[in-house]
């Protein structure tokens, strides 16, 4: 157990010297490097934190934008749907209107054709009835129908009351003339007889004009300035037409 005091002092100096040297060459530098690294790491973490915050903010922003876009998309889709629906409705209305119009035109055509047909039917029926009636009358009475009709007209002229005669006279006095319209040509003899009958029962100076027209069908009309007396199988034909029209209408209704 020996202590060399010189060595002891030397060791103290040595250790203090070592302390100073290490402090100068080792600790300061190493600790400096460590602190710098720590600061760098902290800085990196801070930057990462900032980047994360920025990324979160961006994410939130993009989410909001996406949501807004989705809402807008929904809105646009709804508006487009509504527009398409209204457009469809409009086009359907137009189509319906067009169909209605076409139907109306078709019905009009049908009606017109029906009327034309009935007109033709009436004319043919009248002609046939006239032919049948004439043949029947000829067969039964052995009298020509025209002659009989003229007789009926003359009977009517004779049977006219004073009021009717006055109307015809007033018309003749004002410069008019009396027209006898018939569906057939009245033979000259009969014309003469009628002329006489008119002169005798209505007015002496009356000018009588004979006209043939299909309008009266089989029969006659005695007209003067709006006044007339008439007999025709047109009435019978009208009745036939009415019945025929009803029959046709009912058939059309059933088909529809």
């Amino acid at each position: 157990m020996h202590i060399d005091w010189f060595v002891f002092l030397c060791q103290i100096v040595n250790l203090l010297l070592l302390l100073w040297l290490l402090k100068k060459f080792l600790y300061g530098r190493i600790i400096g490097a460590m602190d710098a690294r720590e600061a760098k790491i902290a800085n990196t973490f801070e930057e990462a934190e900032k980047a994360r915050d920025a990324a979160r903010a961006a994410e939130s922003q993009y989410e909001q934008r996406l949501q807004r876009l989705e809402t807008e998309y929904e809105g646009m889709m709804n508006s487009a749907r509504q527009e398409a629906e209204s457009r469809r409705k409009e086009m359907m209305d137009l189509a319906r209107a067009e169909v209605d119009r076409l139907q109306e035109r078709w019905l009009e055509t049908v009606r017109s054709e029906r009327d034309a047909f009935l007109q033709e039917l009436r004319r043919m029926a009248g002609t046939q009835i006239y032919a049948i009636t004439r043949r029947v009358l000829r067969d039964l009475a052995d009298v020509e129908l025209e002659k009989r009709i003229v007789e009926i007209l003359m009977e009517r002229i004779e049977a006219m009351d004073e009021e009717e005669r006055r109307k015809f006279r007033d018309s003749v006095a004002e410069g008019g003339f009396i027209t006898v319209q018939s569906a057939f040509d009245i033979p000259p003899d009969e014309q003469r007889r009628l002329d006489e009958a008119i002169h005798r029962h209505i007015s002496d100076g009356a000018e009588v004009v004979f006209e043939r027209t299909d309008d009266v069908m089989t029969g006659y009309e005695l007209k003067s300035d709006g006044h007339k007396i008439a007999w025709s199988i047109k009435d019978y034909v009208d009745s036939l037409e009415e019945k025929f029209y009803h029959a046709l209408y009912e058939e059309a209704q059933e088909k529809r």
Binding site: M1, V7, F8, Q11, K23
Partner: protein, 244 residues
């Protein structure tokens, strides 16, 4: 090849050079060797220090050592780590390097000399009041010797001396006895056993360096924190935050 003969208790007795009172013995020579190694090593390692993520393995080793010492000091002292660090680290590194080279034939650890361990213990003996006074002032420091009552003053003084003596003798005893055991074993069983003992010697050297440094730190801490409230949780929390 033994530098220190079996009958020589210390490398102090191996005189290399003498001139008057100036005596250069093996202790001084090996101390200078260790100092030179430490200083040159420091210069080499710190020559290209990197504060980037990648670094040299030597720098990494030094950072691990420095970091460990700092954390140990922090655990004991809680604060002022960097104030005590150079002293504690120097003591630790010196003892550690002195001890671990004992596996080299012909090398004698300077710490197996009572002169060296006494010098180290005296440094601690001086450092303790120095740090205490620096931290708390002379009066506050001296007051500690009379706590809890003045009766305790002699015991405090005795404690100061006895622990210094213990520091010196513990280190010296361990290292010296280990060397003697190795020498004896070499004579008795030259194969295998000395190797095992050398390995054990590395462990002992490391542990002794650790014990010396930790005790020095504890003494300093007790001098600087004697009358302060115990518990320095904020420091711990600060550290936790820093690590995160």
């Amino acid at each position: 090849m033994e530098v220190v003969a079996i009958d020589q208790i210390s490398p102090d007795q191996v005189i290399l050079f003498t001139w008057g009172i100036v005596t250069v013995n093996a202790t001084l020579a090996y101390t200078w060797l260790i100092m030179g190694l430490l200083v040159v090593g420091s210069l080499v390692i710190t020559r290209d220090l990197s504060s980037e993520r990648t670094m040299s393995r030597w720098q990494n080793l030094m950072e691990v050592i420095v970091g460990t010492i700092r954390s140990e000091i922090r655990e004991i002292a809680h604060e002022g780590t960097d104030t005590y660090f150079p002293f504690i680290a120097t003591v630790f590194l010196f003892i550690l390097f002195s001890n671990v080279f004992t596996f080299i034939p012909g090398y004698v650890a300077p710490t197996s000399s009572l002169t060296t361990t006494t010098a180290l213990a005296i440094l601690v003996f001086v450092a303790v009041p120095l740090y205490g006074i620096t931290k708390n002032g002379v009066v506050e420091y001296l007051k500690e010797y009379f706590r809890p009552t003045f009766i305790f003053f002699p015991f405090h003084v005795m404690g100061e001396f006895s622990r210094t003596l213990a520091l010196a003798v513990r280190l010296f005893g361990n290292l010296m006895s280990h060397e003697k055991v190795i020498a004896i074993l070499l004579a008795v069983t030259p194969l295998f056993f000395p190797v095992v003992m050398q390995v054990l010697g590395l462990l002992i050297g490391l542990i002794q360096a650790y014990i010396f440094a930790i005790l020095a730190m504890v003494y300093i801490a007790s001098a600087t924190q004697t009358h302060e409230e115990t518990g320095h949780k904020p420091t711990k929390e600060t550290e936790t935050v820093k690590i995160q």
